[in-house]
Subunit: 347 residues, 4 copies
């Protein structure tokens, strides 16, 4: 297939990774790099001297050679930039979260549908091989009924000054939950604290309730003694621990509780079943490469992207609900549902 001609916009912390990975993909060609900061632009230009630079976004979307734009700018600018790019007929890859409100995320989705262009939010964890492996276990119903999911994503740093830990780290865990469970929680409640910067929550404890009965808890923190990325998924048949910092990122525990029939007088008899523990071999391809490959294939019309606008919008809805719960001192609040008219629902 013809390489997709992509411009990368926003060369701060994450943008250079997009450039590096796209550079190595056969199906992509970086045709422009763009940042308002001349130093960031110059630094990357030194590494990729053959790629033309642009200091203004207008220049990028006016460039006819550019088929697609990859946006890695601050969250507050996603909506405006993505909308302009779609209106200019470009395909758009936009870093997570898709937009800073679900209403704007929906608007972007509507515009992509109208313009028949690919719009894909950058939820990289959906392309992480261990996450995919767990998704397959869940599709096969290997774990039985899912009782609960417990997630910890904590380490020391890296504080953001513009968004809370829920907008930053939460976007990862909520996208994973949405992908694994194919579901949006009905209600969430949350507690957080701004320990370091006033008004910027840097720790949060979030509870989520799904219609199926599944519960989830997410602990997220930029303030923790040591890095911890541990997710436990407990089902009626098996249990899984996923830890992307481990050499064995997925561990499957063939353990559970066996409930014998209730005895007379309401006595229950339980036994615990503990079996083998298996660490399946997990592919080590870089998730970002798989993600951008998926984007290129979607642009060429071969596939639906795995990371859909519907999913990206749902993630924003969950974050909004978390923020609402925080405003109401931790009261449980309902997560807004996708409206019937949302383009993705029409799929």
């Amino acid at each position: 297939m013809q390489p997709v001609h992509i411009a990368v916009v926003g060369l701060g912390y994450w943008g250079p990774n997009l450039v590096r990975v796209l550079h190595e993909l056969e199906d992509a060609e970086v045709v422009r790099i763009c940042d308002r900061d001349p130093r960031a632009l110059a630094a990357l230009h030194r590494r990729y001297p053959s790629v033309p630079t642009a200091r203004s976004f207008e220049e990028v979307i006016a460039d006819e050679e550019v088929e697609a734009v990859a946006i890695a700018t601050p969250v507050g600018t996603h909506f405006e930039l993505a909308l302009a790019a779609l209106k200019a007929g470009k395909h758009v890859f936009v870093e997570k979260p898709l937009a800073d409100s679900s209403e704007r995320a929906e608007q972007l989705g509507a515009e992509a549908t109208r313009a028949s262009r690919v719009l894909m939010p950058g939820h990289t964890f959906l392309y992480s091989p261990p996450v995919t492996l767990v998704r397959e276990l869940l599709l096969e119903e290997a774990l039985g009924e899912i009782y609960f999911v417990s997630m910890s994503r904590v380490n020391l740093g890296i504080h953001q000054s513009d968004v809370s830990v829920a907008w930053d780290l939460g976007a990862h865990d909520f996208s994973i939950l949405r992908y694994w469970l194919d579901d949006v929680p009905e209600r969430v409640s949350a507690l957080s604290r701004s320990c370091i910067l006033p008004g910027v929550a840097d720790i949060a404890f979030v509870n989520l309730q799904f219609g199926s009965g599944t519960l989830a808890h997410v602990e997220m923190s930029w303030l923790a003694p040591s890095k911890l990325r541990r997710t436990a998924i407990v089902g009626s048949e098996k249990m899984v621990v996923y830890d992307d910092t481990s050499n064995e990122p997925v561990r499957i525990f063939d353990s559970g509780v066996v409930l014998r029939d209730p005895q007379t007088f309401g006595e229950y008899r339980l036994t615990y079943r503990t079996g083998d523990i298996v660490s399946p071999r997990v592919d080590t391809t870089e998730p970002l490469a798989l993600e951008l490959q998926n984007f290129c294939e979607a642009v060429r019309g071969h596939v639906e992207p795995r990371s859909t606008v519907a999913l990206g919008t749902d993630v924003v809805r969950i974050i909004e609900a978390v923020e609402r719960s925080l405003d109401e001192q931790g009261a449980p609040v309902a997560v807004e549902r996708a409206r019937a008219s949302t383009p993705e629902s029409a799929d």
Copy 2:
């Protein structure tokens, strides 16, 4: 000092441990063992043939040789048995939780004061050397301001059929929090699920807010892929990880965030400080031995017990608030405060 003559009542799961440890203490002598179940009684009698048995509690408290009673019966019976023992002039050690309601816990406290007898709830973790070591760090303010505490106490089993995971495991963590922070949370919110037995919550996620600003989160579960006992205490100066399943149960991280003065235009500059990690040597004495020794010394009038009625009553109040929050679908609820007339407040 003269050995305290103690009767142990309730020989189910935990009672035999009380007998074993009291048997080895120089300052205690087990003068009676008591259980309604003749098999439980006979089994222990075989191990300690010289200790007289009793099948009725009345027999125990009528025995003049008995100075103190250690109660390890189901939670629902604590109030009645402890009250009767106090009224009979016995000192009372009662396994956690002190009673099945805070009102009853207060009544027991009032009766102990009236009768001038020691009443001590069995919060064994208060005597665990790693917990004590952390308490000392906190007293010295070595950690700085306490931002948050995150606790996980999960494993596969052991389901209780009469009480929820909050009454069972929660009693441990809430007693540790009360001891460390010398404070009772103002509000709690909780989410739980009864996965195995109808009506018996076996997993719970509990958020706690303290007046000082400190947050805490406790995850408790009888359903988990592997045993996890991990508590992180994050302060402005240092962070501590406490894990009672580890060979290094306390680890002190000399790490934190340094916030430089706000710059012009509201820009903050943060740096991360990571220093040495120290695993202090921790004494390995069995907590139960330290606890029962403390009880004997309290009976002899030498000391106030570390595990006070005030603390035990506060723990019950926290559990009650958790249960109320669960009844209200996870709404944050206030924890009841100790009334001024509570005997312990008078200390």
Copy 3:
């Protein structure tokens, strides 16, 4: 079956464990406990008041009620006591190592054969469920050709003052190797040092070469920063790590090297195969209980004991070779072979 009437001789560090475990076995009854030290005897008598005591070994073997003797005395006394017991018509269980020289071990074996009595050396690790599980993997040839075995058995303490680390810890590892590989090494070489007590080696590095080509290395030490019990068995098809201090004592790695046919000009092409890692469920029965049960069944004539005199004698031969190599400054020395006339060879 009728319980075997056993006397336990030697109540130092290990003997009380024998008494405890035999006490709980249905097929055994402890009919005598014996030690020359009245304090040791009295201490155990308090725990088991119904078991008669004896201060002299003669008394024990003169007692007609005693069918079998379990010997847990210092190594230097094994030969004399076991021989006297066999001559008195008793079955004999003797703690490892069987005797302080292979010649004496052979003599004991010959006497047992002559007297038609069971003689069983106490190599407890042969009854450890993880060791048994690895043995089964090896019997099935699941690992392919065994390239090498690397064993570390180190911790801080417990120094012996009468025997070297090779006689103490080595007896464990050499018994495991003999059991797993069903083979005795042809040659051993060793290096050791007496760091703390003059003349008592407390660390040793031992290399072993088997006729099959398999190599083994054993590191043993009473002086180590932390307890380490790690054995790696590397085969052409799979690799196994056995660690008896871990919750997952056996881990099977489906990994290896694939050698493609030699290319022209002697170029080889290798690829590395890494597959799943499995931690099989391992039974948690106490090895000592399985071992003593096996002894009782052997006494009753139902089975050959797993821990044979032939194995126990081979272990002593390996230790003797280690000591010879140490005397010759680490030169490789041959391990003496069992003589054709050894009773066990006749099996």
Copy 4:
């Protein structure tokens, strides 16, 4: 200081790392890259288009702009290339091991002295911050008398086809030992096996004896179930574990054995002292950057390099002794001593 103009020769597995790191050093400038394989040359040229290439070594040493040559070619070519470069007046950095025989290593040293040029073997681990930290502990005698060192360096892969595991991995561990102990072992004995490729030992167990009494053991393997880089250094006062794969690469155990004065009748009384465990903060600078910076400073005449020709030659002598012991079926052999006339001895 003026940047040192360096040519990098050999662009196989390691050479590109030299180019990358030199490229980022302010005190170095890569002025040539050289390889006989046009593909290797072209691949690197694409990444560094401004650096001139050379296909012949002669071209490199004839280039007057080249002040120093960094050699990363197969071991068998080190001698010839380094000698020619020195004779051409260039300073020389040569990857470990310095040469394929100690005689040739000495010849190179003599030539460097004669030509007044820096010759530095690339023993990167001497620049690894955890190794340096342990070296400082040893210089301060913080560990007391060093009883023994136990090293494991094992993983699955990467087989070399031209040299044995001792020449490859051994060069690392022997350089660390030489650096830490400032000493060369008197005798070594070794056992190895060629499991995969005929004639290429891929596992080896090496014992080393130092004149001070210190013992060392090194296990090295390209065939192991999982990566293990664990070194324990046991001293009379403290013990250290160094593991360069860990987040806490150095751990200091304040533990040991206390020997009380011998009692009457030759009884010794030992007690075990276990204190705190400290994981000091360790700098995370890339060792290769520190090493090449050290080379540049040596070229400019500011410092003696840490990795000296004397050390590099000793490492080759130890490897030669290992190979001799292997030829003699594991017999202990003496390590050849540096001759008085060796230039480095004159320092």
